[in-house]
C-alpha cells in the first residue's frame, strides 16, 4: 500500500514544483491574527492584502526586471499568540520560501516574529504594530536590519492623543486602566502617563488587569473614588466596550480615550448599548477622507467584503504598496535585493497619508488622526502632525 502511494505522490510533487518554478510568482507571506482574541484584526489584514494582489494581478503582476510577475499570497494564522506567530514566521520563511512577510499586526505577536525574521534574514513588514520594540533590537536599541513597519509608533501616537486631551478638551485629571499582560496596552499606558503629566495634567489613578478578565468592578470603583475627568483605556476592541459599560453603570462620568487598538468596526458592534458615546481615539486613518485614491479603496473594499475598511486594512494596503515598490526597484525576486531597495525607500504616498522614512529609520513619520465615537460610528475630529 505504501509503495503504491509513494510513486504517484512523487510524480505529483515533481509536477507541482515544476509548475511553480516555471510560473515565477512573487511569494509574499501574511502572518495574521485570524483566530484567537482579535480575529477581526487578521481578517482586515488578509482582506486588504487580497484586494491589493487582485489589483496588481489583473495587470499581469509586478514588473520585476522587465518580467511581469504575479503576486501569490501565503497566509498563516498566528492565533494572536506570540509562540504561534514565531512558528508561522519560521514556516513561511524557511519552508515556503516567501520573499517577504507582512504582519503580524498586534505587537505581542510582531515582536517574537520579528526576532525570527531577523535571524533568518527575511524582510518583515508589520502594518499595525506600534510598539517600538518591534523594529528595535532589545539589547542595542538600533533598528533590526530586516524589520520595517507601516505605521507610527506608540511613542508618537499616544503623546499626540494626550496633547489633544489637555489642549483641545482641556482635561486635567486622568485615570488609566490597562491590561498588564499585553504589550500595546502597557506601553501605551506608560506613554500616556508621561505625556499627560508633562502637558500639565495629573494622573490620579493607574489600575491594571490581565488578559481574559471580564470583571473590572473593583478597579473601576477605585477610579470612581478619585473622580477623574478622563479615563484612558488602551484596551483591544473586545475589552473596551465591556469596561465602558461597567464604568457607566458604576456612575463614572469621565470621557473615555483610546488608542488605535479601538479602531475596528467590530468594537462598535460589541458596544450596542452605546456606552462609548462621546469617546475619542487616536488612529491611523479615517474613512471620511475625500482623497480620490481613498474613496476608490473604500468603495472596492466595501463591494468585496461588505464592510468599511478599518485602519488595519488601509495600512496593510499601503504596506503592500511600499513593498511592491521596493520589489519593482530591486529588479529581481531575491530577498537581499528587496531588502536593500526597501532600506533605500524614503517617501511613499498611500491611502493613509504620507510615509517618510528619515535617516535610515524603519519607522515612518506619519500624521495622527483623532476620531470620535458617536452612536455606533467613528467620526473625524482632527489631524495631529507629530
Amino acid at each position: 500500500m505504501k509503495k503504491n502511494l509513494l510513486l504517484p505522490l512523487l510524480v505529483l510533487s515533481l509536477l507541482f514544483s515544476a509548475c511553480s518554478s516555471n510560473k515565477k510568482v512573487l511569494k509574499i507571506g501574511i502572518n495574521a491574527e485570524l483566530t484567537g482574541e482579535v480575529p477581526a484584526v487578521g481578517a482586515s489584514c488578509v482582506n486588504a492584502a487580497k484586494l491589493f494582489v487582485e489589483r496588481i494581478n489583473q495587470q499581469g503582476g509586478l514588473d520585476v526586471g522587465g518580467v511581469k510577475m504575479p503576486i501569490s499570497l501565503i497566509v498563516g494564522d498566528n492565533g494572536a499568540k506570540p509562540d504561534q506567530a514565531a512558528a508561522v514566521a519560521q514556516r513561511l520563511i524557511s519552508q515556503q520560501n516567501i520573499l517577504a512577510m507582512i504582519g503580524p499586526n498586534i505587537s505581542s505577536c510582531a515582536i517574537p516574529a520579528a526576532e525570527i525574521a531577523e535571524s533568518l534574514n527575511c524582510l518583515m513588514f508589520s502594518p499595525w504594530s506600534t510598539n517600538p520594540n518591534t523594529t528595535l533590537h532589545s539589547k542595542t536599541g538600533t533598528f533590526k536590519k530586516n524589520v520595517f513597519r507601516g505605521c507610527f509608533t506608540d511613542a508618537v501616537e499616544i503623546p499626540a492623543l494626550a496633547q489633544f486631551a489637555t489642549r483641545q478638551l482641556h482635561l486635567k485629571k486622568a485615570a488609566v486602566l490597562y491590561d498588564t499582560s499585553s504589550e500595546y496596552p502597557t506601553s501605551a499606558a506608560h506613554y500616556f502617563q508621561n505625556a499627560f503629566t508633562s502637558e500639565g495634567g495629573k494622573i490620579v489613578n493607574s489600575e491594571t488587569y490581565t488578559t481574559g478578565d471580564r470583571d473590572f468592578s473593583a478597579q473601576l470603583t477605585k477610579i470612581k473614588a478619585t473622580n477623574p475627568d478622563v479615563l484612558f483605556l488602551p484596551a483591544y476592541y473586545n475589552d473596551a466596550p465591556l469596561i465602558a459599560e461597567q464604568a457607566r453603570r458604576l456612575g463614572i462620568t469621565a470621557i473615555f480615550l483610546g488608542g488605535n487598538s479601538w479602531s475596528t468596526p467590530e468594537m462598535l458592534k460589541l458596544d450596542s448599548g452605546h456606552y462609548l458615546n462621546g469617546s475619542f481615539l487616536s488612529n491611523h486613518f479615517s474613512t471620511q477622507s475625500n482623497a480620490p485614491q481613498v474613496k476608490s479603496f473604500i468603495a472596492e473594499y466595501q463591494a468585496k467584503f461588505g464592510q468599511l475598511p478599518d485602519d488595519i486594512a488601509a495600512l496593510t494596503y499601503d504596506t503592500m504598496g511600499i513593498l511592491s515598490e521596493a520589489i519593482v526597484k530591486a529588479g529581481k525576486p531575491d530577498r537581499t535585493a528587496i531588502h536593500d531597495s526597501m532600506a533605500k525607500a524614503e517617501h511613499f504616498s498611500g491611502i493613509t497619508g504620507n510615509f517618510i522614512y528619515k535617516n535610515g529609520s524603519h519607522d515612518p513619520m506619519k500624521s495622527i488622526v483623532i476620531l470620535s465615537v458617536k452612536d455606533g460610528a467613528f467620526g473625524y475630529v482632527t489631524t495631529v502632525e507629530p
Binding site: 453603570r249 460589541l270 458596544d271
Partner: protein
C-alpha cells in the same frame, strides 16, 4: 464607607458566579473523585446557548435560564456517557486527559462557529439604584439572588431527595452502592447533568453581567472556579460555595487595598496560605483510611 459597600457588592456578584461554577466541579468530584476539566467550557457554552436563544427566538429571561440549563445539563450527561464512562476503570490520568480533550473540542467547535467575540443582548431591564452613594443595579441583584436560589435548591436536592441520598451514598462508598440495588450509572449521569446545568446557568448570568462573550472565556473562569472548589474543600458543596465567595472577595479586596497589579499575586498567595493551614480545603475532610 460607601466605597467599601460598593466593593462588597462587586465581590458578591463575582463570588456568586465563581460559586455556581465551583459547584459543578465539586459535585462530579464528590461522586467520582474525578476533576471534570471540560466544566469551564460547558460554562462558556451556556453563554452561547443563551446568546442563540436571545438573538434567534428572543425568549424571556426565565425560559432562557431553564432552556440553557437543560441543554448544558444534557450535554454534560452525554459527555459523561460517551467520554468518561468507557474509561471509568482506567488510571486517573486518562480521565484527566479525556476531560481536557472534551473541553478543547467544545472550545474549538465554538471557535469554528464564532471566531469573533459576540455581544450578548440585554435580557432584563437594568435600572440602577443609588443608595447613599452606592450603585446597585437590578442586574447585580438578579445575579446574586438567582445564584443563591440555585444553590439553596441544590442543597435541598442533595439533603432531602432520594436522588440526593443515593448521590451521597455513592460518594461515600462507590463499590457498595450498586450492590444495594441503586442504579449507580443513572445517579452518576444525573450528577453530571446537575453540575453542568449549574455551569450553564452561570454562563448565562455571566453573559448578562459581562456582555461580551467569546469561545475562550471559559478557560480562565474555569480555572478560577476550580481553585474556589479546592479552597472550599473539593467534594463538599457548601465548601464550593464558600470557596467561590472567598475567591471573589480576595480578588476584589486585594485591588481595593493595593495597586491592582498585585491582584493575582495577593489573591493566590492568600489561597495558598489557606491550603497550607487546611490542606483539604476549608470544609473538606481528610479521607479516612479503612482497615
Amino acid at each position: 464607607m460607601n466605597y467599601f459597600a460598593q466593593q462588597t457588592i462587586n465581590a458578591l456578584q463575582l463570588g456568586s458566579i465563581y460559586a455556581l461554577i465551583a459547584l459543578g466541579y465539586s459535585l462530579v468530584y464528590g461522586v467520582l473523585t474525578m476533576i471534570n476539566f471540560a466544566h469551564g467550557d460547558l460554562f462558556m457554552l451556556g453563554a452561547f446557548v443563551a446568546l442563540i436563544l436571545e438573538s434567534v427566538v428572543r425568549v424571556p429571561f426565565w425560559i432562557a435560564l431553564i432552556v440553557t440549563m437543560a441543554v448544558i445539563g444534557l450535554l454534560g450527561a452525554l459527555i459523561e456517557r460517551f467520554a468518561y464512562r468507557p474509561i471509568r476503570k482506567a488510571p486517573r490520568v486518562s480521565a484527566i486527559i479525556t476531560a481536557l480533550g472534551c473541553g478543547l473540542i467544545i472550545e474549538n467547535v465554538t471557535l469554528g462557529f464564532s471566531p469573533y467575540p459576540r455581544h450578548m443582548p440585554t435580557l432584563l431591564v437594568n435600572t440602577s439604584y443609588y443608595i447613599g452613594g452606592v450603585t446597585i443595579s437590578s442586574l447585580q441583584l438578579t445575579i446574586i439572588s438567582i445564584s443563591i436560589l440555585l444553590m439553596v435548591m441544590l442543597d435541598l436536592i442533595i439533603r432531602r431527595t432520594r436522588f440526593g441520598i443515593a448521590m451521597r451514598a455513592l460518594s461515600f462508598d462507590r463499590a457498595m452502592v450498586p450492590l444495594l440495588g441503586i442504579p449507580a450509572n443513572r445517579i452518576i449521569s444525573l450528577t453530571f447533568a446537575l453540575g453542568a446545568a449549574l455551569g450553564g446557568s452561570a454562563g448565562l448570568l455571566y453573559a448578562l453581567a459581562y456582555p461580551v462573550i467569546s469561545s475562550s472565556m471559559g478557560i480562565l473562569i474555569g480555572w478560577k472556579a476550580f481553585v474556589a472548589a479546592v479552597i472550599g474543600g473539593i467534594g463538599n458543596m457548601r465548601g464550593a460555595v464558600l470557596g467561590g465567595y472567598i475567591l471573589g472577595a480576595t480578588e476584589i479586596i486585594s485591588v481595593t487595598l493595593l495597586p491592582s497589579t498585585y491582584r493575582d499575586l495577593i489573591a493566590y498567595s492568600l489561597l495558598l496560605l489557606i491550603l497550607i493551614i487546611k490542606p483539604y480545603g476549608i470544609l473538606g475532610t481528610p479521607p479516612v483510611q479503612k482497615v
